[in-house]
């Protein structure tokens, strides 16, 4: 029997995500810097930036925060985006993003490479947990269960990664 982490990793990799197990937020910042190359900007979802000030400290001038006046344009095509995931689901290798605020959503939607950080204890076996999580306490205005980078098979059913959404997805199991 594979462990739940192994199962998650296998399914997420099948969906072309890269899975990391990291101990700290500071490790997440390091990962973002590696992925962003020398001068790429790193977008943070505002809710995450508020909750984890260490990220902004570590990333310094590289940080990009959505401009409330035009959040989408301000972060479009950021080299890397970092968002927090509510759940990771082993059944499908998916991460549930709860993003009622547009400013959070644009980061997960428009970054070229996306890092989704989920607390290790929020890794669950199966999709049923998504239903219970969303239903508990009234559903959020906007939530997405995301599984790997954006893709299409619309031309001759040839799988091509990276359409409107991120073309690279890293899932960090934190802690």
């Amino acid at each position: 029997m594979p462990t739940i982490v192994e199962a998650f990793r296998a399914r997420a990799e099948e969906a072309r995500s890269v899975v990391h197990e990291l101990a700290t937020w500071s490790g997440v910042a390091t990962l973002a810097l590696v992925l962003a190359d020398a001068d790429g900007r790193i977008a943070l979802s505002p809710s995450l930036a508020r909750a984890q000030p260490v990220l902004s400290e570590r990333l310094g001038a590289r940080v990009l925060l959505p401009d409330p006046g035009d959040p989408a344009r301000s972060v479009a095509d950021a080299a890397v985006g970092i968002v927090r995931g509510e759940l990771a689901v082993a059944e499908t290798g998916s991460v549930l993003l709860v993003e009622p605020e547009l400013a959070d959503r644009v980061v997960s939607m428009l970054s070229l490479t996306l890092i989704q950080v989920v607390a290790r204890e929020r890794l669950v076996e199966n999709l049923d947990a998504v239903a219970t999580t969303l239903a508990a306490g009234g559903p959020p205005a906007y939530a997405s269960l995301t599984t790997g980078p954006s893709r299409t098979a619309d031309i001759e059913r040839s799988l091509t990664i990276g359409v409107q959404g991120p073309s690279e997805v890293h899932v960090v199991l934190l802690g």
Binding site: A15, L102, A131, A135, G138, A143, L145, R151, G162
Partner: protein
Amino acid sequence: MTDREPPPTPHAIAPFAVRYRAALADPNVRDGLLDFQRSWKATRDEQIASVEAITGRSFDALRGELAEIKDGVLADLDGHLARFRARAEAAGTIVVEVATAADANAYIADLCRQRGITLAVKGKSMVSEEIGLNAALEAAGIEAVETDLGEWILQLAGEHPSHLVMPAIHKRRGQVAELLTRVVGRHFDPDDIPAMVRSVRTELRERFLTAGLGLTGANALVAETGTVMLVTNEGNGRMSSSLPAVHVVTVGAEKTVPTLADAIRQVRLLARSATGQRITTYTTFISGPTPGHELHIVVIDNGRRAIARESAVESALRCIRCGACANVCPAYQVVGGHAFGHVYTGPIGLVTTAYHHGLEAAAGPQSLCVSCGACATVCPVDIPLPAQILDVRRQIAVRGGGLAWAKRAALRAFASRRLVDIAALAAAIVTWPVQSGVFTRIPRRLAPRHLGWRTPPRVSWRPAHARPALHAAQPPIAVTGATGRRVALFLQCVADRLAPEIPIAAARLLRAAGAEVVVPEGQHCCGLPAFDAGERDGARRMARATIAALDGHDDVVTPAPSCVVAMLHEYETLFADEPEWRDRAAQLRGRVHDLVGYLSTTARLPRGALAQAVAGGGGAEARVTVHRFCQGSNLLGAGDRLERLITDLCAIELAPLAETEVCCGFGGSTSLTAPEVSHGILTRKLDNVVASGARVLVTDNPGCVLHLRGGVDASGLRVRVVHVAEFLAARIPIG
């Protein structure tokens, strides 16, 4: 579908005949779709096996559960919608229910006018195609830009989707590259698909950032939470529903599910059935407007409640638009969705088009369906599509005009055994000079559309029922469960006159297994051809005569499993309102067997009983392969029974045949009304036969035998096609 005026077709969709010819003229369609169907089937089967492993439940159990959920909603659609509305409105969403396509379009156009919106970005939505939203918005001065890659390509090409899930699947890479080169104004290399994909991102980015309206469909409305569920892969659905200040969802009322847990059950089957993925990249749950934005949900009826009122087709509303039924449809592979369908394509389109766009729009493609039943085997909500398609045909036949006069006259003549005998005799005399062996060779130029690709069978001078060989003695070779049983042999009308050797071989086999074979007088045709054509009255007449002829025997056996399908499945529908005949049909159902089934169970001969090498080909040295009668696999659940019977009795090894359960293209009337489709499907079958390396092709339905023989003869292949009865009877030990 009785009192409604058919709603106008929203699109400029060409007449069926024009679409059919265009599809046949474009080899990209059939070549591309053949590759597509093969690769889809492999990934879909893998994913269905995976969900069975994950849940510990069978596909049938899982789809039964989802079907039950959907049925529960349909039983109280208004109640579920009211619950959905209450929750959604509490969260600040505006929910509008509209009756017609025009109402939906008017609401959205008015909203744009009030908000001063002139540009909309649009995620993929079949409902928007159904109601002709783009054209309506354009007429109101609003530009609606498709943002799903496939839909965008089609919008640039001025076409509509040919598939529910993969709208541009009929286009090959070269065509897309040429289109993009022309429209985008840069060169695109047909072999650089990633570059073509990237173009949709760069070309549409600014539109996303400036559009005032985002339009999407919905995969489910969750009543419990007022949630819209939307699944996409590209990310355009999330952007269309997030970036513009106004988001409008167009959705059919039937998409409602009770709870989020139910929506998750749908998710488990949807992507697996649609694209062969475990799950789509984005499954989005929208339960209210984003702060500062507006969310409108336009719930559309447009014929849905009319479907719900008719018990024969009601369950079509379970459809989750996965497209699986098209992906296994052999006729769809030949002509694609522009011909096989209207706005909604594939088998489900043959049903629902009648209600969304009128009977006339639904009529043309009916002739393409070969009734093979493959669609029903993969549908994740277990819709009985073959029966529903036949019901729509019935409606078309009742309204008249649907069936060509000549076809109706032929079906009437078929209803009478005496007329058929006279006609068959006349045909035998007329074609005598061109008959050779088992074939009637007609000069190809005389009738190329119907005959060039398939040599017609010779009409027999003397049908099986008038031949002494049918009654000749055959000593039993073993004691079986059939020993001493009185078995009525149902010859089947086609085999009786066109392949008398088949019922004769069947009689020998049954006698070899110890049965006392009788050939009841008065038997003729089970009624299937008329039923298939929607001619219910004619079918009922033939069914009554068949039931009466077959009364009073221990077992009824036929070498034609197609007739068993009719007796097991269609008679119940035919006699729904005639209790006496319904009971007699039920009694028959308990006694009727197709030959392979009977030999595999009651009349089971010992292992190796027919392990004789036979002279004249087909002996142990020739490679033998098996084509499964499609309805046997798809409707009777026969599985690999035919292969097991042959290997067991004859102790030979069979060469595997790829896609053995896929139809051979005979399809009853399809080979007359849409011969190009029949031919296309036959070609796929024969290509597989050639690839198997076999020299002998065994199958179990007389129609398939004749069709395959004609195809083999016309294409000059060196393959002998035999019915399983002949194959086995030739191995009965003598003395």
